[in-house]
């Protein structure tokens, strides 16, 4: 029996390989599970075997958090400059634009979630590591100011390696710029929710990502101020297992909840209903 089984198995997989093109197979980086791409896609790019949250694109988050056909992009025409004439910055911008099909590291707009109007910004890690330069900072600041003007909540899906070094101290000041705009939301009691995805570190974690009234994070996302390589170098020792993961932050009281991607939409909507109170009722009535 044993030799018979061994003989049959490769034949089946060989046939499967012939019927399904090789590029439709996906492998989970965490557990090694191999499955057809469709199954990963149906599970919102979460591994059906181990639950590992693989990277999700900005468009996919927008779709996940919007009622069908309600997304309207704002400020799509902003483009980065090279204010410091920093070595190779223009080339890096162009190659990132080609790679992602996007002009910079964030998409912002107005949308509806279960009938509620909200302002949504989604960062894109594929664009220069989700780094925050003047364009990312300006788009977030404008979105927050529009949220204040229109009295509608703000939701930001974050992912970033930090400030964009090629814009020097101008990128650092985007932390202050976005914060000053979000301070206006605070003063007006307009709900602000941040959703932290893998990874959210550096200048983004040290500004708007950690300023949400409610801070949610996806399972396993690395979140923190300092990068792990820098910490290792500084302290000269290995980092504990699970350090800087969403679960680690939850345990240390730094975030409100770890929410699997499949529940993000429902959780966000439920929170907004709680936080908007009367305002949301009138929004619905006028919808």
């Amino acid at each position: 029996m044993a030799w018979f089984k061994k003989e049959r198995k490769p034949r089946v997989s060989q046939r499967a390989r012939l019927e399904i093109p090789a590029d439709t197979w996906e492998k989970c980086g965490a557990c090694g599970h191999i499955d057809i791409r469709e199954r990963f896609e149906k599970a919102l790019n979460v591994c059906p075997e181990c639950g590992n949250h693989r990277r999700f694109s900005a468009e996919e988050y927008i779709e996940l958090l919007s009622d069908e056909g309600t997304w309207k992009e704002l400020n799509a025409g902003l483009r980065a400059l090279d204010p410091l004439q920093f070595e190779h910055y223009p080339e890096r911008l162009i190659s990132s634009q080609k790679k992602t099909g996007q002009p910079d590291g964030i998409s912002t707009g107005v949308t509806r979630l279960e009938g509620m109007t909200l302002h949504l910004g989604v960062m894109n890690f594929a664009f220069m590591g989700g780094s925050m330069g003047s364009v990312v900072g300006e788009k977030i600041a404008r979105l927050a100011r529009r949220s204040a003007d229109k009295r509608t909540p703000l939701v930001l899906v974050c992912t970033s390696g930090g400030a964009r070094m090629q814009e020097g101290v101008l990128s650092l000041m985007q932390m202050a710029k976005t914060s000053a705009a979000i301070a206006q939301l605070r003063a007006l009691s307009i709900p602000f929710i941040t959703i932290l995805t893998d990874p959210t570190t550096g200048g983004v974690s040290a500004s708007f990502a950690m300023q949400g009234d409610v801070i949610l994070a996806e399972p396993g996302a690395v979140i923190g101020f300092a990068g792990q390589r820098v910490i290792k170098q500084t302290i000269g020792q290995d980092l504990p297992e699970g350090f800087q993961t969403a679960e680690f932050l939850l345990e240390h009281g730094q975030i409100d909840e770890v929410v699997p991607r499949g529940s993000l939409r429902e959780t966000t909507a439920r929170l907004l209903r709680h936080m908007q109170g009367e305002r949301q009722q009138s929004d619905r009535a006028s919808a």
Binding site: G77, L78, R79, A80, L81, P83, L84, E87, S134, V135, G137, E138, A141, R145, A163, M165, E167, G168, V169, L170, S171, L172, M173, Q174, M175, A176, K177, S179, A180, A181, I182, A183, Q184, R186, A187, T201, G202, G203, S205, A206, S207, F208, A209, M210, Q211, I223, G224, F225, A226, G227, V230, I231, T234, I235, L239, P240, F243, H252, G253, Q254
Partner: protein
């Protein structure tokens, strides 16, 4: 005169200083008149010092900004402020000596002063973690900022840090949140605020004391999103390329003035603040008094609005 604190580019000055000392000794011993020669040498020394300090490269300024003898927050607190009462602790975890703060008086006015504090020697540096605060340091600062606003006193912050500390405990206690909260609260703090970079302005750890109505920099201080060493390591995988990185990052006071990020550069005495701490203190005092006088006339609501507009305008982008 040569000692561990002499910077590389200051070494040509040492040779002249040695010659002057030698000439003075000869003059005293041999009863020869060396006055005119002394004057010549002294003039040469002065002009050389001037030449060196007027042509510092960005990386040389970084070295001056980090100078071990450069006046720090506590030095200014004792030289130009009076009636200082230090206030400790964040009321949550512990007192972080990498940030100091408390009530003080400047030209007759009560002010809240908060600053990073580097150590004066190795032992002090261990205590103060080389001026790299943990979250509790920033939370102490926040507590004092709120106190300043509560009692309608102006806030003065002095910035001098390589950055917020990158360590396990700092991350566990929420370094990112501590910085983020200070930045947003400073943006909307209902009182007058002046931030001064006195030495090293290291990234988010500097900005968390640096959002203010007026932001000033000492002539030889630096302010950057990353250290030149860190930038060189990332871009060229080679920390020795720091000269090149310092150049590229545009981190000097005059660069930041050109980029409209700071309001004014405070001139330093010739030879840098470490060469004449008293002169540096006097320069800081007069500038602070002038800005406080201007800001005092503006109501807090208006200050907050103007602050939001000021930071809202920072950045460089094109719009299609």
């Amino acid at each position: 005169m040569a000692n561990q604190y002499t910077l590389d580019f200051e070494k040509p000055l040492l040779e002249l200083e040695r010659q002057i000392d030698e000439l003075k000794r000869v003059g005293e011993e041999g009863k020869i008149d060396v006055d005119s020669e002394l004057q010549t040498l002294q003039a040469k020394l002065d002009s050389l010092r001037q030449e060196i300090y007027h042509n510092l490269t960005p990386m040389q300024r970084v070295a001056v900004a980090r100078h071990q003898r450069r006046p720090a927050t506590l030095d200014y607190l004792s030289s130009i402020f009076t009636d200082f009462v230090e206030l400790h602790g964040d009321r949550l975890f512990r007192d972080d000596p990498a940030i100091v703060g408390g009530w003080a008086r400047l030209a007759g006015t009560s002010v809240m002063v908060i600053g990073h504090q580097k150590g004066r020697d190795t032992r002090d540096n261990l205590k103060r973690n080389f001026g790299m605060p943990h979250p509790e340091g920033y939370r102490k600062a926040l507590r004092l900022m709120r106190m300043a606003a509560k009692f309608h006193a102006p806030l003065i912050t002095l910035i001098d840090t390589p950055g917020a500390y990158p360590g396990i405990a700092a991350e566990e206690r929420g370094q990112a949140e501590a910085l983020a909260t200070n930045i947003i609260e400073m943006a909307a703090l209902p009182t007058q605020s002046i931030a001064v970079v006195i030495g090293e302005g290291g990234s988010g750890g500097a900005l968390a004391l640096g959002v203010a109505d007026r932001v000033l920099m000492f002539e030889n201080s630096v302010y950057s999103v990353i250290t030149p060493e860190g930038c060189a390591a990332i871009l060229w995988k080679d920390a020795t390329q720091r000269e090149r990185a310092a150049e590229a990052l545009k981190l000097t006071a005059s660069d930041l003035l050109k980029l409209n990020i700071i309001d004014e550069v405070i001139p330093e005495p010739l030879g840098g603040a470490h060469y004449d701490p008293e002169g540096a203190g006097e320069a800081l005092r007069s500038v602070l008094v002038r800005h406080l006088g201007e800001l005092r006339k503006i109501r807090p609501e208006k200050l907050i609005k103007r602050r939001a507009e000021k930071y809202g305008a920072m950045g460089a982008f094109a719009e299609a």
